[in-house]
Amino acid sequence: MTAFERFLETFFKAELIAATAPKIVSGMGMTLLIAGLVVATGVALGLLLAGLRSYRIAPVSAPIVIFADILRAMPPLVLILIVYFGLPNVGVTLSGFAVLWLVLSLVLAAFAEEIFWAGITSIRKGQWDAARATGLSYTATLIWVILPQAVRLTVPPLVNRTIAITKNTALGTVIGVPEILNQATTAVSFSGNATPLMMGAVAYLVIFIPVVMIGRMIERRLAWKRA
């Protein structure tokens, strides 16, 4: 057996590819589902928190800032393990799926909150003045004038952060969520061969390269001619 054949045998074993493909595909479905849920929940929650923070009411802003700082500082894996193995001790048992969704959503919300907040504060004060002077309330100004502009400014950092966090769906493997990596490592332990891991890597690329490209498209689409 030549070195190249050994390489193929270890990483791209044909019969193992055929046998593992259905599992990897089902893992892709799970990864996509969780990623979609995390993006929707995390971005929406982050926007809500940034909006609430903009009212600058100390008892509201302070917990938001503390939440965002802690969640951004903590490795997501630590949070996942704490929630998954810790909460049952106080009588709350969540499925691995729910834990992964919850934790990654909160982490994304923390980052998204900071990004949206930076966007909100970068909008010139004149925009507030103009809207308030026509009788729009604070909340109406935030919704109709400030956020549409802030969200456009925040698309590039938000897309990058969103991709970084949704890739953390791979952490679900440690709490038994049957996503791509979990399917791949399970197959590895049965076969003693690295081929399923390579398939998992390809599966991630298949999902996330289009996401990266869509992100770039959204950035272009949302740019408008600046006054």
Partner: protein, 246 residues
Amino acid sequence: MDEKPLLSATGVTKRFGGLPVLHGIDFSVRQGEMVFIIGPSGSGKSTFLRCCNRLEEPDAGQIVFDGVDILGKGVDINAMRQRIGMVFQAFNLYPHLSALGNVTLALRKVVGKSKAEAEAIGRAALERVGLSEKVAAMPGTLSGGQQQRVAIARALALDPRLVLFDEPTSALDPELVGSVLAVMRDLKQRGMTMVVVSHEMRFAREAADRVVFMEAGRIVEQGPPAQLFEAPREARTREFLSRMMA
């Protein structure tokens, strides 16, 4: 011209941090009157103008608009602001909305007009400022003069009783100033009540019913433009005017 003031301010004071910027301003404007406020930078004229619709909160004093004390407790300031239009030095158009979107936003979200009603009013307002062909244009594609006229249309669309102009031509290239002044002249002819903070001395002289000279947070003197420009009583007014006219 009605003798009863549409807006009257009494003893308006304002500090920024510890720094006093307004020392008890008494000011009034009658229905249909066009009043210019002139003075050096830092004299408090823009701050006072912004007190008139409470974009700045005065520390003390009273401002009565159309019979309502707008500084009073429980006043619906958003309702008052629909009746007090404002035009800014930097235009402050919403860059994500078209000209028509800028003009109709408050009609739809504050007044509660339907899209069709708001757009009809918005188109009429844009036509009044000579921009009917720019209805769909985004602000970034308009010249400064056009942007400022959209901003005026945005104020007019709410059918205000008073319009506050905060240095409306200061950010414009000289060749674009005329188009904005023409719109203001037209408003005056239609009897709009206006308070204008401006450095356009020639326009003030020609169009104002009354000119107010402010310095260091106080009104130094006021009067009809002929008197204030030709025969100012106060030395400080003379000094300011000679600098401006030089």
